[in-house]
């Protein structure tokens, strides 16, 4: 029976706590008497008969007819699926998407449907490499559909293949992939790693154009998104997305949404200690930790990155639900919260977090400085419900080497963003006004996005906006162990050690400030009371 998450009050008997530091770890001693650590719930048990559960979901959908009843010969069917940003780390084969799409194709073949297109719903993310598509969908689907031109990736800049579905009462234009828009049925296959994903966000961002995304991916909306992972009505982003969803529901193609959730069993056997509570580490775990960290200290960064990105998580499906988008998503969120929610009493003065080697925007790539900010302030800061873990004006302390390193294939516009935009301003509103258009419309970035494996030119702005609420909320952000000039370029304060960071933080929050550590890995959402 998996144990629920809990909050540990740190006392003198508490051992040092594990922190991510990019492609390595460290153990940090937190001050006794004023610190607490939020531990995530243990991984839930996976579904025993996963394929059986998928088939059951397709045949018994929520608030919709069974899938076979929606299929007929001669119809135009589009199956869209989440891109490589999910799950993290990539899961062992077979991926949820492969399992679900194979089950869907069984029914589609039985119904005699020939016109089937599979589209990777990547929005403005980079195109997936062939090996990534093969991993997500399996070799069988890739070999059968890709060579026929029936498996491809969404292109938000291909204006001939975009169609306007309608406009919301707030003037937001819903423009999505034309093939999906003209289909008799769109089946969306999702992996819901965090509560922010899924629902109407799947199609209205994954298959949308830049124009459509810019209505909610902007500083104003994201500063007003007061709970990205929590209640929808606290999130300006989700409110906008749900308005677009209504337009899609009323004027778009018929949608059959399939959502899956995963447990948090994220790291394979040799790295078991990552998911364990420190005082439960065995001699083997301690030896593995010591061996791993010592070895990684001497490993070239490229090799270390290769090792970490090559990992396949043993996480498995904990639920699958299909049918009408909103009804499905409601159930999905229940499953996500069941795995991730931890009740926490009150806010804190200092929030500490270890930043890992990967974020949703650098699978198999480099965690560049902009993404460090995005991961810390955009994702981990936002892992709360009700109110942020850190009080307004409090301090956020992250641990990461924050090297000035970029993947030029995946993140070409990030390099210029770092050199050109961040030297000018770190204010989301100001950079949006002065710089965003130039990057979004740059022909070279568009070319790299459309034909290579590059994120869209505007993507570094979106990554920065993702942390807009965190930036606005925190009184100071400190990065421990980061490259000092790079950290300063981000507008943050560098610190050599955790003790130094607490010392620096005391200028803002006083000497007896309370500290809360968000214990990642494993995902958790703090339900702050």
């Amino acid at each position: 029976m998996p144990r629920p998450g809990f909050v540990l009050e740190v006392d003198r008997s508490t051992p040092s706590i594990l922190f991510w530091r990019g492609e390595n770890f460290s153990l940090e001693k937190l001050p006794a008497g004023r610190s607490r650590v939020i531990y995530p719930p243990e991984p839930l048990d996976a579904i025993k008969d996963i394929d059986g559960a998928i088939r059951h979901a397709l045949l018994n959908p929520i608030d919709q007819d069974p899938l076979p009843a929606l299929l007929f010969p001669g119809m135009k069917l589009t199956i869209a699926f989440d891109d490589v940003s999910l799950p993290l780390p990539k899961m062992e084969r077979p991926d949820n998407r492969q399992r679900v799409i194979e089950a869907v194709l069984d029914l589609v073949a039985e119904a005699g449907v020939d016109d089937v297109h599979l589209i990777a719903a990547l929005g403005l993310h980079r195109r997936m490499h062939e090996y990534e598509l093969r991993h997500a969908l399996g070799d069988r689907i890739y070999d059968a559909f890709h060579s026929r031109g029936m498996l491809y990736q969404h292109d938000a800049e291909d204006h001939d293949n975009l169609a306007v579905i309608g406009t919301t009462d707030h003037g937001e234009v819903l423009e999505i992939n034309k093939r999906a828009a003209e289909s008799d049925l769109v089946i969306y296959v999702n992996i819901n790693s965090v509560s922010m994903d899924g629902g109407w966000k799947s199609i209205t961002t994954g298959l949308a154009s830049y124009r459509c995304l810019s209505f909610h991916h902007n500083p104003e909306t994201l500063e007003n998104t007061r709970s990205l992972m929590g209640h929808r009505h606290h999130s300006a982003l989700h409110t906008s997305v749900w308005r677009l969803g209504k337009v899609l529901k009323d004027h778009g193609p018929k949608i059959f949404q399939i959502e899956t959730t995963l447990n948090t069993d994220m790291f394979p056997k040799p790295f078991e200690f990552i998911n364990k509570r420190e005082w439960e580490w065995t001699a083997k775990d301690r030896a593995t930790f010591l061996g791993t960290t010592k070895a990684l200290n001497r490993t070239p960064i490229k090799l270390a990155r290769k090792i970490f990105h090559g990992m396949e998580g043993p996480h498995q499906m904990t639920s699958v639900q299909a049918g009408e988008t909103e009804a499905v998503h409601k159930l999905t969120l229940e499953h996500v919260y069941k795995q991730q929610l931890v009740e926490v009493q009150g806010q804190t003065d200092i929030l500490t977090m270890g930043i890992p080697f990967v974020s949703p925007y650098n699978p198999d790539g480099v965690m560049n400085p902009v993404l460090v900010m995005c991961m810390g302030l955009g994702y981990l800061f936002n892992m709360y419900r009700n109110k942020p873990l850190v009080r307004e004006g409090g301090v956020i302390i992250m641990t990461h080497p924050t090297y000035r390193d970029f993947n030029p294939v995946h993140h070409p516009s990030y390099i210029d963003f770092f050199e050109q935009v961040l030297t000018d301003t770190t204010s989301p509103a100001e950079m949006s006004r002065k710089w965003e258009k130039q990057y979004a419309e740059d022909e070279w970035y568009k070319h790299l996005y459309r034909t290579g494996n590059a994120y869209h030119g505007v993507h570094p702005f979106y990554a920065w906006y993702w942390g807009a609420h965190g930036l606005q909320h925190a009184g100071k952000v400190i990065i421990v162990g980061g490259d000092a000039p790079t950290v300063r370029r981000l507008g943050f304060t560098p610190a050599s050690t955790m003790d130094d960071a607490f010392e620096i933080a005391s200028d803002v929050v006083g000497r007896n400030a309370t500290i809360t550590h968000l214990h990642v890995p494993a995902l958790l959402v703090a339900d702050v009371q």
């Binding site: 996963i50 394929d51 062992e92 084969r93 077979p94 492969q98 194709l105 069984d106 073949a109 039985e110 119904a111 005699g112 020939d114 089937v116 399996g138 070799d139 069988r140 689907i141 070999d143 059968a144 559909f145 060579s147 029936m150 498995q316």
Partner: protein, 342 residues
């Protein structure tokens, strides 16, 4: 000289006689030792059978009765691990270079705390198929894999039988008669966690096309509840098919299907038909692609493994066309070469 010698010669006669006597005694002793036991008579030899009596035949220890339990004991397992991971793997790589697909379909079973015994049911074109299966089947099943082999072919002599049992962990089954002993023994093996490779076609293809499936795999699955994994092997027939005197190295492909479970109340015949349909669909998947195969399976139009209904040269002609699609055809395909434009 002669006269002078005579008395001395005469004086040596008794000595010579003594030597001769000793020689005779030694010869008799040697003869007694060397004399074949049969010459000694009963009980040193088989008793003669009285007239009018017949001796009942001793049960044969060959064929389906070949004893192979020893091949599943630790020493034999250790030897087999060396043989299969060394020479067998090397030979298969050299001759058939198999491309293995569909292992993800076994991932769920592999993750279980107690992995169940499986019945692998591949099509059969060549003696190489067994080697290919031993190489292709993933752990944890590979190290506990028994191969059902034709008793009349592999176990007709002691040497062949011993080698087959030791190196392939072969178990004799009678192709002609449904032997209760074989099936009981196989059930016992499955119940004790040994997985099984059984060729439902009963033997290698005589003409390159497949044969109708016999119900052995379905019967065992029905009795034991073990899942059947349909497997399609492509290409081995043209590397070392029936009737070929020496192998022609080439490429092969192995496609594993999703495990099939016997449905409660389902007859062996129906389950066998499902297994055959699954292998047929995998065959189509191996030669075309997953989606084409799915569509044809739904419409019931997957090309049959047994080939076209007609006989004679047209059947062989169709086989050549069929092979062009698969791995066997690739051996003959020219690699595309781009012109060197300087």
């Amino acid at each position: 000289m002669k006269l002078n010698n005579t008395p001395s010669k005469l004086s040596s006669v008794p000595q010579l006689r003594k030597v001769a006597k000793l020689g005779d005694a030694a010869g008799a002793a040697v003869q007694a030792v060397l004399k074949p036991a049969k010459a000694l008579g009963f009980p040193y030899r088989k008793p003669s059978v009285p007239k009018g009596q017949t001796v009942p035949e001793t049960p044969s220890k060959l064929g389906a009765d070949f004893e192979t339990d020893w091949a599943r004991k630790a020493p034999a397992k250790a030897v087999r691990a060396i043989v299969t991971n060394g020479p067998v793997r090397a030979v298969i790589k050299l001759l058939a270079n198999p491309e293995i697909n569909g292992l993800d379909r076994l991932a769920d079973l592999e993750r279980l705390d107690k992995t169940p015994a499986l019945i692998f049911a591949p099509n059969h074109h060549s003696h190489l198929d067994t080697g290919v299966m031993i190489v292709a089947v993933p752990e944890p099943w590979r190290s506990k894999l028994v191969v059902a082999a034709a008793a009349d072919y592999f176990f007709d002599t002691k040497v062949k039988g011993t080698l087959a049992a030791l190196t392939l962990n072969a178990f004799p089954i009678d192709r002609e008669v449904t032997g209760r002993k074989s099936s009981d023994e196989l059930r016992r093996l499955l119940d004790t966690g040994w997985s099984l490779v059984i060729y439902p076609e009963g033997g290698r293809s005589p003409d390159g096309w497949g044969q109708d499936f016999k119900g052995g795999a379905a019967y065992l699955a029905n009795r034991t509840g073990a899942p059947v994994v349909p497997v399609f092997i492509d290409g081995t027939g043209s590397i070392y098919g029936k009737g070929m005197k020496k192998p022609k190295p080439g490429k092969s492909k192995v496609v594993f299907g999703s495990p099939l479970y016997p449905i409660e109340g389902e007859s062996t015949r129906r389950f066998n038909a499902r297994i055959e349909a699954a292998v047929t669909a995998l065959g189509d998947e191996a030669l075309t692609d997953y989606w084409t195969s799915k569509q044809r399976a739904a419409a019931g139009t997957n090309p049959k493994l047994t080939g076209p209904e007609y006989n004679g040269w047209r059947r062989q002609w169709a086989l050549a066309e069929h092979r062009k699609l698969g791995k066997a055809g690739q051996r003959r395909r020219q690699k595309r070469r781009w012109p060197d434009l300087g």
